[in-house]
């Protein structure tokens, strides 16, 4: 399958900046293509297999590139410029499924009590209350707001259970960010996000980050918290069939009926995204 325009025209994170320290050349794979990152005199550049230079930028602690000459602008996260926040980048984790599936799982609060038991949810409080989903037409992105969930340990800084309020943002087919009530400071949100590098249609590398107010934990403590949670998701993600995202309505799968997932799928369809989507007749 050749990449569709929507997929092709995005920026993709391909590693944290320190991942390229001390290496002259590093192979990376993006959208079923082999690319090479070169590190010369402190400058990072990316070439495709034919030797053409690709656009690059450094943002949000990561190196980004695009297969397009005129990519859609990378979305803004003004929180990265706020003083007092701590950024922890968790490194790329390989997952054998479409990156689109990772976004969908991230949006789904219903899995907290069963996948992140006693951390992000408890089985006694497993119902998801209704929340709002809106399209921001100007930015062409999805926002789910007023999401509420009872969490025994909402973050590394939490000292007990709390009703956590969430907002979810999907500004890119392969990125999603959640904003959750900060357990130690009022009126601010902690951010947790995924920058997904689609490797193949059914394989990806998930670069995650947290950007939080926390004056108790070490960076490594925050890292362990985040990686532990993501590895819980990884096992669930790898057990999903088919590995690509089933968008075709003919799938008789018990696909998730929650509002943010419906909005995400509708948005992908409206943008005519095809790469990474399971076709009904190539059933797994």
């Amino acid at each position: 399958m050749t990449t569709d325009n929507f997929t092709q025209s995005q920026w993709y994170a391909i590693g944290r900046l320190p991942d390229f320290d001390g290496v002259a050349q590093k192979p990376v794979r993006l959208l079923s293509r082999d690319l090479t990152v070169s590190h010369e005199a402190g400058d990072l550049s990316v070439k495709d297999a034919e030797g053409h230079s690709l656009l690059t930028q450094v943002r949000y602690g990561h190196l980004w590139t695009s297969l397009s000459d005129r990519p859609r602008p990378l979305y803004d996260m003004p929180e990265f410029d706020e003083p007092g926040r701590r950024l922890v980048t968790a490194g790329g984790v390989g997952v054998r499924c479409s990156g689109l599936r990772c976004v969908e799982n991230f949006l789904d609060m219903a899995h907290f009590p069963f996948v992140h038991t006693d951390i992000l949810g408890v089985e006694e409080h497993s119902s998801v209350e209704s929340y709002d989903v809106n399209m921001d037409a100007e930015q062409d992105e999805i926002w789910a707001t007023k999401c509420k969930f009872f969490q025994p340990m909402a973050s590394a800084a939490a000292s007990g259970g709390q009703m956590t309020e969430y907002k979810y943002r999907v500004p890119h087919p392969y990125s999603t960010i959640l904003y959750k009530t900060c357990p130690i400071q009022e009126d601010v949100w902690d951010l947790v996000g995924l920058f997904i590098q689609p490797v193949e249609e059914d394989e990806c590398i998930v670069h995650s980050f947290i950007l939080v107010f926390d004056d108790e934990n070490t960076d490594t403590g925050l890292l362990h918290f985040q990686q532990n949670i993501f590895l819980q998701d990884r096992m669930i993600l790898e057990n999903q069939v088919p590995r690509k995202l089933p968008l075709d309505p003919r799938w008789e799968l018990p696909t998730r009926a929650d509002a943010s997932s419906i909005a995400y799928r509708r948005w992908l369809k409206a943008n005519e995204l095809q790469w990474g989507v399971a076709l009904f007749n190539e059933a797994a």
Partner: protein, 208 residues
């Protein structure tokens, strides 16, 4: 007592399991194994010149190697003397034999997992093939033990040999290694997770 620990490490998990089984109070120092490679930093190489975790600090001394730490903790702090059965030489010999086997599981099944999860550059086909050979041996052994009425690797009680073999067998799926063909291993995993004070680690599939 302090454990230099990494959440996603199966070798550190061995020590976390025994510390919990024996209810030993301890602190953990989080090591940024990935992506930071802190275990290869100058400061950490002072603690373990091999640049590996886990390391345990107790009474001012450092001990490295998961199997060595298990032996140390069990001999020093297990009042029942069952985890490291010091009074039964033939059982002890079997336990030591499977401790060595556990290290080969690390170099195969754990390597495949490092490749698939954390992107390590290594020959994953070879790592998986090596793991399958070992799992065949372990599955046959466990099936034989069951026939003789033994639920555990070295006999009728769980020992440090079970703890040493458990993590990278149970986490094999993370590295694309199916446990489907090893029914005795699956039954042993189901028994292991029912041990009192057992804690699950992400990536473990319980087959129930």
């Amino acid at each position: 007592m302090k454990l230099f620990d990494y959440v996603l490490s199966g070798n550190c998990y061995k020590i976390r399991l025994l510390l919990d089984f024996l209810e030993l109070s301890h602190e953990k120092q989080a090591v940024d194994f990935f992506p930071g490679r802190e275990h290869k930093s100058d400061a950490f190489l002072q603690i373990n010149p091999l640049g590996q975790i886990p390391v345990l600090e107790d009474d001012g001394a450092y001990i490295r190697d998961a199997q060595a730490i298990l032996v140390y903790l069990a001999s020093r702090y297990d009042p029942t003397g069952t985890w490291w059965p010091i009074n039964d030489p033939s059982e002890l010999g079997r336990v030591a034999q499977w401790l060595a086997f556990a290290d080969s599981i690390t170099s195969t099944a754990s390597a495949a997992r490092l490749h698939d999860v954390l992107g390590y550059d290594l020959d994953v086909a070879q790592a998986r093939a090596g793991a399958h050979k070992l799992f065949r041996v372990l599955d046959d052994h466990l099936a034989n033990q069951e026939l003789q009425g033994f639920n555990w690797i070295a006999g009728s009680n769980p020992t440090v040999a079970d703890i040493a073999c458990f993590p990278y067998v149970a986490l094999a799926g993370d590295g694309g290694i199916e446990l489907f063909y090893y029914p005795a291993i699956q039954r042993w995993i189901r028994r292991f997770v029912k041990l009192p004070r057992f804690k699950l680690m992400p990536g473990i599939n319980i087959f129930d």
